[in-house]
């Protein structure tokens, strides 16, 4: 079940170059936090710090702390962190040599679960949750390239859900999809928030406003403003937010 994620003074670096500057924010449980901002603002870097994927890039480094349910994620084993904080990437990245079923089961198997009935139960449940089950239930053992890109992306969501994380990060999950698939993902996010804490990076401001309980704007590696979308979009406190929203930025 979802738990809130608290970030304290997070700074991130690639080599000597600083990308994020002392970001502090809370992503409350069972809510959707959307992260917006121009390209290069550091949104992806930020969310990759949350599941410690950032540190797998050569020369990448971060400072500060991230708390999940009073546990400092930076004191845990990164492998454990990634089981608690799931991630879906910008472009669908299913494992191309695996079947639909095996893609969803991959996380379970990688984490040492062998019991067949547990695995197939969990696969079905995750595909139900990502509302893909009806479309693939007759082709579970087919190769993944038979799926459309939109289906592949929902498969990646199912894959992330199968290991029952507390937090689900989606980094621009719909930006390479057609509008209909994009809408499906958006609906999915709304449904999933009752089970998970959701962090959604998006370029689409309308989408951010529609699905968010909380929105945060990043500019040049800084968290400029955060608040409910109603406030942030209609009564921005920061001049830079207003400039960004009215298109005077990037």
């Amino acid at each position: 079940m979802g738990k809130s994620l608290v970030v304290e003074s997070l700074s991130a670096f690639y080599g000597k170059q600083q990308i994020l500057y002392h970001v502090s924010m809370t992503m409350p449980e069972h809510q959707v936090t959307t992260i917006i901002g121009p390209s290069g603002a550091g949104k992806s870097t930020f969310v990759r710090c949350l599941n410690r994927l950032h540190e797998t890039t050569p020369n990448a480094r971060m400072e500060g702390s991230v708390w999940l349910d009073h546990q400092n994620l930076y004191e845990l084993d990164p492998i454990i962190v990634r089981r608690k904080v799931g991630m879906v990437f910008q472009a669908p990245n299913p494992f191309p040599t695996r079947t639909v079923f095996e893609n969803v089961a991959a996380g379970l198997r990688l984490n040492g679960i062998r019991n067949k009935s547990i695995i197939s139960e969990q696969v079905e449940k995750s595909l139900q949750l990502s509302s893909l089950w009806d479309e693939v239930k007759n082709s579970l053992h087919q190769p993944v390239w038979n799926l459309t890109r939109g289906q592949q992306q929902r498969l990646c969501i199912a894959r992330a859900l199968a290991i029952e994380p507390s937090v689900l990060i989606l980094d621009e999950p719909a930006s390479t999809l057609d509008p209909l698939s994009s809408l499906k993902i958006e609906e999915l996010v709304e449904e999933l928030k009752s089970h998970y804490t959701i962090v959604l990076v998006t370029h689409n401001l309308q989408q951010a406003a529609r699905v968010a309980d909380l929105t945060a704007l990043f500019l040049d590696g800084e968290l400029v403003e955060q608040g409910s979308p109603a406030e942030l979009f209609t009564r921005p406190k920061d001049k830079r937010t207003e400039d960004y929203l009215t298109g005077r930025f990037g």
Partner: protein, 270 residues
């Protein structure tokens, strides 16, 4: 009036297009010409002798030497590629990568001389094995760089996908990334085999050539490329003609390797 101009413009463009097409066709034939002339010569001059027993020995020698070279090159090249990919960003990798590029691009006769100094002198004999070492020496960096490029180009997203599910680095690499790499890996191996097959210069210093059976691992041996080289230099015109047959067999093997590689990559894009 306007419409007439328009139609004339279209006609002009069409004519231009046709000329351009003829030009392309011509360039295409021009670039294919050397290939076909080589094929024509090799086949027409070489086929007489094709089934004479004299070619069995160099053929076996070539295959044996290339296969032994691959026994070294495949695991070491794969290891090198994984190392380059996994440790990218460190200064050591930059040095190793540079060295690998240098080694795979260096004139192969120099590699032959180096292997002569190391293997031939220390084992006290020219040998098929020394030839394999020479072939492996440039196949390893070639395979390593190919594998690194493939890993970077096509599998970073897959690896991150696995890491994000809580896979250890090793498991992500071995269970999720390597299966995707199988085909590119096989193709890279086929290409390096075809290059190794044709190499002659490094073998002069290491394998020497030998006209007698049996083909021992630690004795001088004959290969197709060496046989072509020596036969072509012979004053005897019958022996010279045997060089063509050797060339025919070699070309047949190389075309076969290319066809297999082509077939594998075609399956992939389906």
């Amino acid at each position: 009036m306007r419409e007439e101009q328009f139609i004339r413009a279209i006609k002009r463009r069409k004519r231009k297009d046709q000329w351009y097409f003829v030009f392309l066709l011509f360039m295409g034939f021009l670039s294919l010409f050397p290939l076909f002339s080589v094929l024509y010569y090799v086949v027409s001059k070489g086929w007489f002798d094709l089934f004479s027993a004299g070619f069995l020995k160099p053929t076996v020698g070539t295959l044996e030497m290339v296969l032994i070279a691959m026994v070294f090159a495949i695991p070491l090249g794969t290891g090198l590629g994984l190392y380059l990919y996994e440790s990218r960003g460190t200064r050591m990798v930059t040095v190793v990568r540079y060295t690998a590029d240098l080694l795979s691009g260096i004139p192969s006769i120099l590699i032959g001389m180096a292997v002569y100094a190391v293997v031939v002198i220390s084992t006290g004999t020219f040998s098929l094995f020394a030839g394999s070492v020479a072939l492996a020496t440039f196949s390893i960096p070639y395979l390593g760089r190919e594998i690194e490029d493939q890993l970077i180009a096509s599998t970073s997203a897959i690896k991150e996908g696995a890491l994000a599910l809580g896979a250890t680095n090793t498991r992500a690499l071995l269970q999720m990334v390597m299966p995707v790499m199988t085909r590119p890996l096989i193709v890279a191996i086929l290409f390096s085999m075809s290059r190794a097959m044709g190499e002659t210069a490094p073998l002069l210093f290491t394998t020497l050539g030998n006209h007698f059976w049996p083909i021992g691992l630690m004795s001088p041996a004959s290969t197709l490329s060496l046989q072509i080289y020596f036969d072509a230099l012979s004053p005897n015109s019958f022996v010279q003609s045997q060089a063509w047959t050797g060339a025919l067999i070699l070309i047949a093997f190389i075309i076969l390797l290319f066809l297999v590689a082509k077939w594998i990559t075609r399956e992939e894009s389906k």
